[in-house]
């Protein structure tokens, strides 16, 4: 599971061409988009969301529901995304 999370973090960094950030800097439970009350999170925006959606599909072979709210839940954090991928991955 922790391998998958590291892989997810790498995909985030590579696909969005993030600078100055390493997988170790990303907190598993912190929001990917925006930030939480504690100020944690990657602070990505809605344009990044589209890009990341495509990257996750390509890298992990999972598809997402067209229902926006549901998809949003899966992208809440690296933890949530890892859980969704391991549950839905065909491989």
């Amino acid at each position: 599971m922790s391998d998958l999370k590291t892989r997810i973090k790498e995909v985030i960094i590579e696909s969005l061409e993030l600078e100055d950030i390493t997988p170790a800097d990303i907190v598993d439970s912190a929001p990917i988009f925006g930030k939480n009350a504690a100020g944690e999170g990657l602070g990505l925006d809605s344009i990044d969301a589209l890009e990341l959606g495509i990257a996750v599909k390509e890298n992990f072979g999972v598809t997402f529901s067209t229902v926006k709210e549901e998809t949003k839940k899966h992208f809440a954090s690296v933890d949530a995304l890892a859980a969704y991928i391991s549950a839905n991955s065909k491989g």
Partner: protein, 807 residues
Amino acid sequence: MKPAAGRIFFTAISVLYPLIVYCGLEYWGLTPRRLSIVLLALAFYHFLNFTQSKSHAERGRTAIFVVLIFVCAFVAFFADNILFVKFYPVLVNLSLLSFFGFTLWKPPSFAFRMACLHDMSLEKSPSFKAVERYSRKVTVAWCFFFIVNGSIAAFTVFVGSYEIWTLYNGLISYILIGIVFIAEYLVRKMVQNKMQSYVPVCDLELDSRPNGALVSFGSGVDAANAEDVAANVAGLKTWGDFVSDVSKVRYYLESRENTPWILHCEDSYYFTVSLLAMLQSGRKALVTANRQEAFIKEIKKPEYGFITDEPFASGVLNADEMPATLIQDVLAGKCAEGKCIDDKCAPLKFGKFDKSKAEMVMYTSGTTGEPKAVYKRFLQFENELFELVKVFGNDWVNRNVYSTVNHHHIYGLLFTALLPIATGLPFRRHRIDFPTELANIAGDAAVIASSPAFLKRLSAETDKAIAFKCPPIIYSSGGPLPEDVARKTSELTGYWPMEIYGSTETGGIAYRQSKNGPVWTPFEVCKMSVAENGCLNIKSSYILEAEGFTTGDLVDLYDDGRFLLKGRSDSIVKIEEKRISLPEVENRLKQTGLVQDVRVVPMMGKRQYLAAAIVLNEAGREKFAGLPKLTINNFFHDHLLKFIENTVSPKKWRYLEELPQNTEGKIRMRDIQSLFGLAESPNFKILKFRREPGVLTAKLLFPATSDYFDGHFPEFKLLPAVVQVDMVLRLARNFLDVPKELSKMNRTRFANPILPDVPVMVKITYDADAGKVTFAFTSVDGEIPYSNGSLIMNAADSSADEVANRG
């Protein structure tokens, strides 16, 4: 009697009138009735004048005067009353008062009409307004005098004896008039000394100035230092030298075919001599600040001449391919080609030229885009010089001109080469490069043409006010001068810098001192309007195109022609459909109080985004000392999100020691953008850089934590040669558009080790034709060479890994 003789006769009677009356009464025993005949005669004389006066208003005025004299004469005659005989001087004062007063009401004032009669060129001189203002004051003074004098005259009519009346009106009053005349003459001389003399550059002749008048001087400052004194003596040039040097260059130019000449001289004196010679000989002058071989090749056609004051380093330039004429050789009479004048008897060639035919080309980089040639007729400069002397000239009297800017660009050209020549103010031949040099000229009354770049450095590096004997006049142009820098400059020098807003295409447009607010006052000849895209359009006598020139600057234009600049039109960008003003993001970042300077630029990668290049101030450096870059990024990102949407908040960040400027002191968007083209890694940092065509200089730092030092060597970390070459290639590809692959390394030497955490300088040049990249790593002060060499690039697809193999 002839009219002239009659005029003199009656004027004499008018002047001697008090004496005639006195003698008549005291010695000749005449009655007031008989004396009134004299008055009557004067009345007739004035009546004749009245019939000859032309203007309507003038006739009305004299009519009243004539009627009043007649009335006095008649009353005196019929009543045999001496009182009315004595009224004449009062009436004369009244008449003069009404005459002078009338010209105040309907200008030009009387004194100004007289001044114009005296000096016909006055109406065409830039001091026109100043003389007019002064003449008005003189006219007012005379009116005041006539009121006082007339009142005293009236007083003597009613009070006191004939003697007192005669003494005052026949003597004292005339003495007073004489005193006022002399006083005015003295004041006028004083005022004239405070007015800037001026001769249009195209009208300069051999005898425009005295032969011994100082034209330029060297940069030695210390009177106690023999070298400094020698430098100064060698640098001194008088009008006689100037005329003779221009003449020598003219003989040289005119002995050769009439072709355009490229001009680059670092020394302002040589520059001005060469330029004037070209203009007077009718040679088109291509004035370039950039002397890089690649650039010169680009603008130089084979037949063009090239005059300069610095020989190219041997080997850099192929002499056959690009012959350059050294002006020193021409002046010394030993040039290889063409004719040099060594005959001392040859007549001096120096004189007027046709300003509307003389051609020049200037090169501008602008804030974006490639270097661009801007075509000029000298007429445009001449018109602008006139305007500058009109607005600022009287501040310059008896000052020396200093410069911190390059005279190959329009602002430097006007302020530090052409203006001194047109006004006769001596100029220093060499630029002031360092703010510390200002202390050396503190004893001199100076005009300093400077720029925001220099003044920023001055205010950052100087704590103590410079003890100027008299505060210098400082101009700033090339970009907006931040108000805090202007304030600090004023604290340090005693003068709040005068900013000039303009461009190569338009010349000077407007001026301001930001202590009086951010609004710009246009030069009188500039007609402002707002173009369709909201940008400022200018029409003026220094723009040849009838439709004027539209700048890239957004503007708020007021009814009186003054205006406020709202940033560049390209400063509003769309990021993923969202409009954002770059200056707004920059200002929000400055709000943190941690940022000294910042540029935000739009970037295009997989998506559109903004990127920010930041120079931290002292508070910022203190706050973030030792913190990882991500923490600093997050701090600014979090701050911005309070004001703007996440999408338009910068995604990438760079922290530099200073923002990159070109030779004009401008920060180009293109340069900042290319900084983000090279992904930053924890392995190296770019602290500052400067990009000119074909050349990159950068200050780099390799932190001890950098992967580059891994295993190289555990006991003694130093930067591997392969990394240095790889770094050169990465920088060259990113900043200098070197598209080719490395094919060969030449003459590469690694002299001294580059250690972790020690900043280094690297200079990389790229010769596109030869496909050659040359590099040199040195210490920051340039004293220690670390490594240097050259790399041959090949369009053929050779492997980039080759570098690694060779390292």
